[in-house]
């Protein structure tokens, strides 16, 4: 019931927002190339549906999924390696911390230079954006096991593999997923920036070209699609998390205390 209520209120707030936006544009006669009213954005989205949905969305989606996929694979592997070997941890972890402080956007042109203007370059930038949140969160998750649970497993005579698979791995899942949620939203930004820097297709490329031509409604249409893409990815990660963590899904109301 509470959830239903929430979505109703969210719907109301969205509707209000759009009405105010539309009204401001019309009443103040804002030029459409500065701020197009939402109606113009929708019309533009409809007019351009063939090229936006048929071509550019797919190109961006491909970059996002490939980049995110590579980040997940290697991010997890690196986090595991740091967890298994003290040496790897000592060698690698400082760089991961430092990398958090580097403005990634500033590095993007270099990445395009290294990896080229084709698909590889965009995937490289998407990886640049998504790799670190996944590594850092997964590794922190592996480290954050409850000491009492660890002690319990050790009194059972558990070996390293058993401790890893039965305790560290499951208790790191929530951390991994919060990293993945951040990475999912970053991945769209990464692909977009990659396309800005040099491309001939994709939603980022389309938006940049539209803004160059003062076609604000088309720009907003591409931005709308990009944010929907980000939200969908975020939602998808949440769904996978719910599947893998059944104890967070059900809450019977019968227990007392504790």
């Amino acid at each position: 019931m509470d959830r239903w209520n929430r979505s109703v209120w969210f719907g109301i707030s969205i509707a209000l927002f759009l009405i105010v936006w539309e009204a401001v544009c019309r009443l103040l006669h804002v030029p459409p190339f500065i701020l197009p009213p939402p109606s113009a954005v929708v019309v533009s989205l409809w007019d351009l549906r063939a090229v936006l949905l048929g071509l550019h969305l797919w190109v961006t989606l491909k970059e996002v999924l490939l980049g995110l996929g590579v980040s997940i694979l290697f991010g997890i592997l690196l986090a595991f390696a740091m967890n298994m070997s003290r040496l790897v941890e000592r060698l690698v972890y400082p760089y991961i911390v430092i990398s958090q402080t580097i403005p990634i956007i500033a590095l993007s042109p270099v990445f395009i230079l290294w990896f080229g203007y084709d698909l590889t370059g965009k995937i490289a930038i998407t990886i640049l954006f998504t790799f670190f949140p996944i590594v850092v969160n997964t590794y922190d998750g592996l480290r954050s096991t409850d000491p009492e649970m660890l002690q319990l497993l050790r009194t059972m005579g558990a070996n390293r593999w058993q401790i890893f698979s039965k305790l560290q791995l499951p208790s790191s899942l929530p951390h991994f997923f919060s990293g993945l949620k951040v990475a999912a939203t970053y991945s769209v930004a990464g692909a977009t920036i990659g396309e800005w820097l040099g491309s001939s297709e994709g939603l980022g490329y389309f938006g940049r070209r539209a803004s160059g031509n003062f076609q604000a409604p088309a720009l907003f249409a591409s931005v709308l699609l990009l944010s929907v893409l980000g939200m969908l990815l975020f939602w998808l990660v949440g769904q996978v998390e719910k599947r893998l963590a059944p104890h967070k899904r059900t809450k019977r109301q019968t227990s007392k205390g504790q």
Binding site: E148, Q151, R154, T155, K166, S171, H247, K251, S255, G257
Partner: protein, 268 residues
């Protein structure tokens, strides 16, 4: 009678902080022993020594009469907070020690399910710890400790997180369980009443390092109920234990201990 577990001349220290010195302890098969002492005195160290997480720096620890260096997996452990894994349901939590021992998962689960009704958990087999009450969680934790498959059990302040009423229920429940299983049990507690009510012998740990623990035999007949608290023998024992702890607090307080690890004055 053969000792189930025995410490002889055990010494252990953390750095230059001695915890145990010439420590002797003998636990007979099927005995229930309570260990009581001020907090910070090293009861957890003692437990970790018994469980095999730590090794004595001198002296020996014997199980069933033979010195055993690797005691991991030989002693069932019921930790202070229940330490149930939140992502495992009741069955999978209790089956954990069986899984560690290499019992196939299906069979481990079947073994656990067969036992749940005895612990009043049959309806909760598939529930997650977050859905259970404090008392139920402790029963799952107890079952898990039992399924280590050994007949020594360490209970580390098992009821300290429970409310008073649940706590008394669980004390009676534990006494019944002890008599059913015939296990040897060692329980750490901060609660003098609990220590006396459940145990055959109460061991009062005092001093720094712990050198000569005082043993008090509890001669109350079994089965006991929580109402035994009002008996004269019980009250006398309780006064004795309290007196020992008070003396210890007094001697510890006089030569000012280093800050941070002062001789704890708190009692349950």
């Amino acid at each position: 009678m053969l000792d189930k577990l025995a410490f002889s001349g055990v010494r252990f220290s953390y750095g230059d902080q001695p915890i145990l010195q010439h420590f002797d302890l003998r636990v007979g098969k099927g005995e229930f022993i309570s260990l009581i002492g001020p907090s910070g005195i090293g009861k957890s160290t003692l437990f970790q020594l018994i469980a095999g997480l730590l090794q004595p720096q001198a002296g020996t620890i014997t199980v069933d009469g033979t010195p055993v260096a690797n005691r991991l997996g030989m002693v069932g452990y019921m930790p202070q907070r229940d330490a149930l894994f939140p992502w495992r349901n009741v069955v999978d939590n209790a089956a954990l020690p069986l899984e560690i021992q290499g019992v196939p998962k299906k069979q481990a689960q079947a073994d656990v399910r067969a036992q749940l009704s005895r612990y009043g958990l049959a309806d909760w087999a598939d529930a997650y710890p977050g859905e259970l009450s404090g008392g139920m969680r402790q029963r799952v934790s107890f079952l898990r400790a039992l399924l280590f498959g050994t007949d020594i059990m360490l209970l580390d302040e098992p009821f300290s997180s429970l409310d008073g009423i649940t706590r008394m229920e669980m004390q009676e429940w534990l006494m019944a369980m002890w008599q059913q299983t015939g296990s040897t049990m060692l329980m750490i507690t901060h609660d003098i009443d609990e220590a006396i009510l459940l145990a055959d012998r109460v061991i009062v740990l005092t001093g720094r390092p712990i050198e000569k623990p005082v043993e008090l035999a509890v001669s109350l007949e079994r089965p006991r109920t929580t109402a035994f608290r009002n008996r004269t023998e019980f009250l006398t024992l309780r006064e004795q234990v309290w007196e020992l702890l008070r003396q210890n607090a007094a001697t510890q307080a006089r030569p000012m201990q280093r800050p941070g690890r002062s001789g704890g004055m708190r009692n349950g």
